[in-house]
């Protein structure tokens, strides 16, 4: 706690702040102190209340009770513009920049007067960007920038308000590793200038990498605030999920039998004569860079896209898969990559989302059976521990992890022999991830097989019995993750790059 004691006065002091939305207590007497020159991490599962707290600080929401003191001033009611002027900036996950305008104009949006006209805008913007070592031309439209450059522009914008406190909401979620490294450099630089930083993240590596203090939130409450050096990874996960998770991954299932699926010479515009097999009770990992053709491969297999050629054998018998309906008929199921666009019917109830894949099977002579649907939904909600007020709740109001469990539950109802999971844990929190892993384990223990695609290498390596590497539309390697190292596998996946 040495760092914390050095800084005498907190920059931001939150005391007993509560906020209720209809039906949920989003924040329950939150107290928090943030000091200048300290990187203050905030972690918690989805729905823990992190974003609500940020939105109260920035003035998007009004607090119900409690006090907030920022820089010696009590804040009763603020607005996003007011709080920026006071020196409190927030950089959101979805960046708030005007794509069609230039970098300079974005930094001084609505404040051209302060800089003395257009030329001043670019000169001052240059100065700010140089301070954080960003070389982007201030005349370029924001639409041409990479995500990380856009983030730099947001940081420069925060600096232009002489911000004393910068809040970053999961800034690294869309950055490459290199970009994260340069962001860390900037954060350290800001810190040395005495600026306070609140860093919200899912990723424990980052918290342990460069945060000084970490606050764990759960169910709208602050569980603990500690110096990072004083807690272990395990303790932190325990605090986040409220129960013990000895390992981030369950032990690998180990019953591998005869092939249940064989794919031969699958060829599309992006894939070149791909052949592979899947065994019963196996989790098969597909590793490759983005664009290597992983998603194309499973979509083609599932019949989601029209394919040039493919031969598919299920249980040794050749089958024709012309579309998802054929695939489902042969015991395939797919949890798609983009949960919101391809997986969910956001405006519909949890119940309708779960029954989706079994609708045809559960209707008699074209008539739906409501009670069957309701009991199916109840069964999956209970089995998968989907946290929802009821089956009638709109699925869009659930957290990402619970939405994903509903998508998985939809397929479990069809009793699939082969479950394809494309990025099943993207954007969901540690606790829900673990539950998804346990689900996968249960599926293979019940005799099913899983094809797993994930950009998180540890996930693939820990969960899979076997891993194929995919590179530029070809399968170029097969590994046993128990034997091979992550480096070997990645080297193979990068082969042609």
């Amino acid at each position: 706690m040495a760092d914390v004691e050095q800084a005498s006065q907190p920059l931001l002091s939150v005391r007993d702040v509560s906020k209720a939305f209809p039906g949920v207590l989003a924040l329950d007497h939150i107290s928090l102190d943030v000091y200048p020159g300290i990187v203050h991490g905030i972690v918690g599962e989805n729905g823990a209340g992190k974003s609500t707290l940020m939105k109260i600080l920035s003035g998007v929401y009004a607090k119900d009770s409690g006090t907030i003191v920022f820089d010696g001033q009590a804040i009763e009611r603020t607005t996003p513009v007011l709080s920026m002027k006071m020196g409190l900036s927030i950089i959101y996950q979805e960046l708030n920049l005007v794509n069609t305008m230039s970098v300079g104009e974005n930094i001084f949006l609505g404040r051209f007067g302060e800089t003395g006209g257009r030329r001043g805008v670019h000169a001052k913007a240059r100065e700010l960007l140089d301070r954080i070592g960003c070389k982007v031309d201030t005349h370029r439209p924001v639409s041409e920038l990479s995500v990380s450059d856009k983030q730099m522009v947001e940081i420069a914008k925060a600096l232009s308000f002489n911000s004393k406190l910068i809040i970053m909401d999961e800034p690294s979620s869309s950055l490459t590793e290199d970009e994260v490294r340069s962001l860390v450099g900037i954060i350290k630089d800001l810190k040395s200038k005495g600026i306070g930083i609140i860093y919200i993240s899912h990723k424990l590596d980052e918290i342990f990498g460069f945060c000084d203090v970490v606050t764990v939130m759960r169910d709208g409450r602050v569980i603990a605030t500690n110096a990072v050096s004083a807690v272990s990874r395990g303790e932190m996960i325990l605090m986040m999920v409220g129960r013990t998770i000895d390992n981030e991954f369950p032990p690998r299932p180990d019953c591998v039998e005869e092939p249940i699926l064989e794919v031969k010479n699958l060829t599309t515009r992006k894939l070149h004569s791909v052949s592979f097999n899947l065994r019963r009770g196996e989790i098969l990992g597909l590793v490759g860079l983005v664009g290597a053709g992983r998603t194309e491969l499973v979509r083609a297999l599932f019949g989601a896209d029209k394919v040039g050629r493919k031969t598919v054998l299920v249980d040794g018998k050749p089958v024709k898969i012309g579309g998802p309906i054929d695939a489902i008929g042969h015991g395939l199921a797919m949890v798609p990559e983009d949960r919101k666009a391809q997986g969910l019917l956001l405006k519909f109830s949890v119940e309708w989302n779960i029954s989706l894949a079994s609708l045809a099977a559960m209707s008699h002579f074209g008539l739906l059976d409501d009670s069957l649907e309701a009991s199916m939904c109840e069964r999956q909600i209970r089995a998968l521990n989907i946290r929802t007020p009821s089956g009638k709740t709109r699925i869009e109001s659930l957290s990402g992890g619970n939405q994903q469990k509903a998508v998985v539950g939809r397929w479990l109802e069809t009793k699939p022999k082969i479950l394809i999971m494309d990025e099943p844990t993207r954007g969901i929190d540690v606790g829900a991830k673990y539950e998804i892993y346990l689900l996968m384990k249960r599926v293979v223990e019940d005799g099913g097989s899983i094809i797993l695609i994930s950009s998180e290498l540890p996930e693939v390596l820990h969960m899979s019995n076997r891993v194929y590497t995919l590179c530029e539309g070809r399968i170029n390697g097969e590994f046993d993750p128990a034997q091979a190292t992550a480096t070997e596998i990645m080297a193979k996946a990068f082969e042609f790059a």
């Binding site: 999961e170 599932f302 969910l344």
Partner: protein
């Protein structure tokens, strides 16, 4: 004093119901205002008149509801009505009235299936694509009607054979206990009830809503999206044919351009009823009330002696109002929960990281 809460509760319930269903405010308002200004409104003769006018429009609108619920549009209904009208009317003498009506219904169904086949073959997935394809087909059907009749009008009363079915639809009524119900109204009740059952209770009805809400996700989950597209256009074509037969019964003639005015009114009735233009939300029941509102407005303005041109303006205003209310309702959830003036960040999900 003590009874006040119990009195207030139902009032509040009604208030909330009206706030959620602004269409009933419109219908009630129209009825009350017109009855006060023009007592003639509340006469049996006028009610009969309203039910007659209800006829053609409601049948087209019912079919159109399914199309719009699935996130598509059918601009060919005007053409289908015209084509069915001229074929049916001219064939009465050739094959008899029953077979002529059956032929008309079959043509409507076939036109709908043809529309959907073209849409599927063209790989059209958006509302705009379906709009242009059915617009093209509307021209085709309209032209077919013109070619078929050489532009002439057929009068039902000149028929040699019996036209008793048409007469019944036009002016017949079925006696109930206290009053008699016009045949066309009974026909409406039967069609609406059937479609409501399809919508609420069947797999196809669900598939229509799912298709409208998210075609991609539904297709990936094995929902028969293509089949539901065929179904909605088939229903729309068939209902247009029913509308056409009701129409020629009432006006006792069939001209090759007779269906033209009904397209816009049908879309209007569906949207005014509250079915979302983007798909995924709606009901044939709402559409029935939407059509009722339009007919009442029409009737009220007629009684008040307002010119037809001004009527068009009213219709336009109502359409815009309906779409405005619809977009408000669509973002309702978030708007209610975050009553703060923060336009740039308000789009953020309330649910964290979702």
């Amino acid at each position: 004093m003590r009874r006040q809460p119990s009195l207030r509760a139902p009032t509040r319930l009604i208030g909330r119901f009206l706030a959620r269903n602004p269409i009933f405010v419109g219908i009630l308002g129209l009825v009350v205002v017109t009855t006060i200004v023009e007592p003639q409104f509340a006469t049996a003769g006028n009610f009969h008149n309203i039910i007659r006018q209800f006829g053609t429009l409601i049948f087209v609108s019912l079919g159109m509801t399914f199309v719009i619920m699935a996130g598509f549009l059918d601009l060919s209904v005007g053409g289908i009505i015209s084509l069915v009208a001229v074929v049916t009317a001219t064939q009465i003498d050739a094959i008899g009235q029953g077979p002529a009506i059956a032929l008309g219904l079959l043509i409507g169904l076939a036109c709908g299936v043809l529309n959907s086949t073209l849409i599927l073959k063209a790989g059209a997935t958006t509302q705009a694509e379906s709009l242009f394809i059915t617009f093209g087909m509307s021209l085709v059907y309209g032209a077919a009607a013109l070619i078929f009749t050489q532009g002439g009008t057929t009068y039902l009363s000149y028929s040699v054979s019996s036209i008793s079915i048409f007469d019944a639809i036009n002016s017949g009524s079925i006696p109930l206990v206290f009053f008699s119900v016009p045949v066309s109204f009974v026909l409406f009740v039967v069609c609406a009830a059937l479609l409501l059952v399809v919508e609420r209770r069947t797999y196809m009805g669900r598939a229509v809503l799912l298709t409208g809400a998210n075609k991609t996700a539904s297709r990936l989950a094995g929902v028969r999206v293509d089949r539901s597209i065929v179904m909605i256009y088939a229903v729309s074509g068939l209902m247009s044919a029913v509308a056409s037969i009701v129409l020629i019964s009432q006006v006792t003639l069939a001209s090759p351009v007779i269906g033209q005015p009904y397209l816009l009114q049908a879309i209007l009735a569906v949207v005014v009823g509250g079915t979302a233009l983007v798909g995924g939300r709606g009901s044939v029941l709402w559409t029935a009330f939407g059509a009722l509102l339009l007919i009442l407005l029409n009737n009220c303005l007629d009684l008040l002696g307002v010119s037809t041109y001004i009527e068009f303006m009213f219709r336009g205003a109502i359409l815009i109002l309906a779409i405005w209310l619809d977009s408000r309702r669509a973002e309702g959830g978030a708007a209610r929960m975050a009553p703060v003036e923060a336009p740039t960040i308000a789009e953020h999900d309330l649910v964290e990281g979702a």
